[in-house]
């Protein structure tokens, strides 16, 4: 982070208050989810919470439907992430340095699945699967997730590529390494953490996705679909609360990890210090 000359002026208390109040607004509903997971009450959601218990955790983990949904979501997220890492890295490697006809179009194409509303992607995939006679299920969910996860990996990897000085690669070649060795010993170690960060973000995105999944799931029930279904079952509130907290954790923790893996983004690797 650079020091910011314009930041020397003191913020007015009104601005300070608005900024911190905004942060509180962003985090309050999340804190509520964490509080209710430990609530003793078993039916309604009155406030403030009635008491503290860990009972619902054991109840939740004894539920076969919860475990099955978790397992399915983990499997889907893993496979979709691997596909996205493969395709995203290839696209980033192709686009980061060379200019060629259609380059803009390709980068737009990669962004399109998350720029268009998810419902468009979802129903488009469903209509194609139906036309081809493919029964919706785990395979179709994975195809959908991989499609919109590619851009996440692509963004992370291409940012790292751009920060990696090309002279590193030239130096490696000059010292007698061939293309494969340069890739193995120079490019890959440099990309590693960005690739991992992109993969984790893609995992979190896939684990949580519901709009596209609604259309491509068929009879399968991923964890977010299970949660949505729970919302119409008020008697099951404690179990819903515990699962909600777990999903929150699975989607939030990768952000912290990805941040620590890719921070220090200002300096260019191999540019001789900055």
């Amino acid at each position: 982070m650079h020091s910011n000359p314009a930041a020397s002026g003191q913020a007015s208390w009104g601005l300070k208050l608005a900024a911190w109040a905004g942060l509180l607004f962003l985090h309050f509903p999340i804190l509520i989810i964490f509080a209710y997971a430990f609530n003793t009450e078993d039916a309604a959601f009155s406030f403030p919470p009635q008491g503290f218990t860990l009972k619902w955790f054991s109840v939740t983990f004894a539920r076969a439907d919860v475990l099955e949904a978790i397992k399915l979501s983990l499997q889907i997220a893993c496979v979709a992430t691997l596909i996205a890492m493969f395709l995203g890295t290839l696209a980033a490697a192709a686009l980061y340095r060379r200019d060629f006809f259609g380059k803009e179009g390709i980068s737009l194409m990669l962004i399109l699945p998350i720029a268009l509303p998810g419902i468009v992607t979802g129903i488009a995939l469903l209509s194609a699967f139906k036309t081809l006679g493919i029964e919706p299920g785990m395979f179709t969910i994975i195809v959908g997730h991989a499609t919109f996860c590619v851009v996440i990996v692509y963004n992370n990897v291409i940012a790292r590529f751009r920060r990696t000085s090309y002279s590193l690669i030239e130096a490696s070649m000059d010292l007698g390494a061939d293309g494969w060795q340069t890739f193995r010993y120079i490019i890959l170690p440099n990309l590693g953490s960005a690739l991992l960060a992109g993969g984790m973000l893609a995992f979190a995105l896939s684990f949580d996705e519901i709009i596209v999944t609604t259309f491509t799931a068929g009879h399968e029930r991923t964890l977010p679909l299970w949660l949505l279904n729970q919302l119409s079952r008020p008697r099951d509130v404690p179990v819903t609360n515990v699962v909600a907290m777990l999903v929150m954790l699975v989607t939030m923790l990768p952000i912290l990890a990805a941040y620590y893996l890719t921070r220090g983004g200002e300096s260019v690797a191999g540019s001789g210090g900055k």
């Binding site: 985090h27 290839l90 192709a94 419902i119 194609a128 036309t131 499609t147 010292l175 259309f215 919302l231």
Partner: protein
Amino acid sequence: MDHSPNARAPLHNTGPLHRLSSLLYRKPNLYLALLLIPPLLWFGGVYFGSLLTLLWQGLYTFNDFSMTVTPTLTLANLAALFQPANYDIILRTLAMALAVSLASALLAFPIAYYMARHTQGKTKAFFYIAVMMPMWASYIVKAYAWTLLLAKGGVAQWFVDQFGLTAVLQLILGIPGVGGSTLSTSHLGRFLVFVYIWLPFMILPIQAALERLPPSLLQASADLGARPWQTFVQVTLPLSIPGIAAGSIFTFSLTLGDFIVPQLVGPPGFFIGSMVYVQQGAIGNMPMAAAFTLVPIVLVACYLAIVKRLGAFDAL
């Protein structure tokens, strides 16, 4: 390329990998093509193939009596979009998307401004993570949290009661077009949930735009005699427009296609997303659902054309 092997890195200068990588190095176009083929196949085949299938199906005929789809081409589905009932759905969704974008911009600006201009080092990192975490936190759980917050006897009502604001809330809920019978079945409630969920998508682009604003411009403005308020209105704000426009792409597009939040919070009445969902699922009228997905596609395309002129794409 055939120099003597380096002592540290194990070299395989004669293996097939070496020959392959040398070939690719000498033929950069082949290398580029090999890199591009897998992603192009996936996106061209899976994604564009699906989109085209969808648009094509929008021209198929749906028989209301037998509830079946026949591949006879017709423009009836597209024409049906302009029926008053469907027109209402489109307008309702569009109004919500615009209101949510506007409110998000107003709420996001102070946070983004404070982040960009008044924090450094650790505090800046803290704010950044504190905005990123709710942005990535599970969408469905955030929506669920709001059903808990807005429920009868829930958190929102507790706060309203504690501060003695019941009368004020009733007054607001009484406004037609904004209110509803309770907070969780009102337009206001739905609006709050949307703003909450998409707010971080607005904060980060504005913060990035303000971060790029050169401090020398502000100093020049002050040197030329502008008061801080004048500098803000005439320098800072215009230069942050691309960031606001970039953020609004997300808030607009995401609200436009949503069908989960309208289903969980707010008064009855379809959104574009819910209409697509119901046409496809409960009714089985895929052609009408396909025609309806044209609406968000066209609206987003128009919106992108507008914000492109505001410089949104340079601020993404």
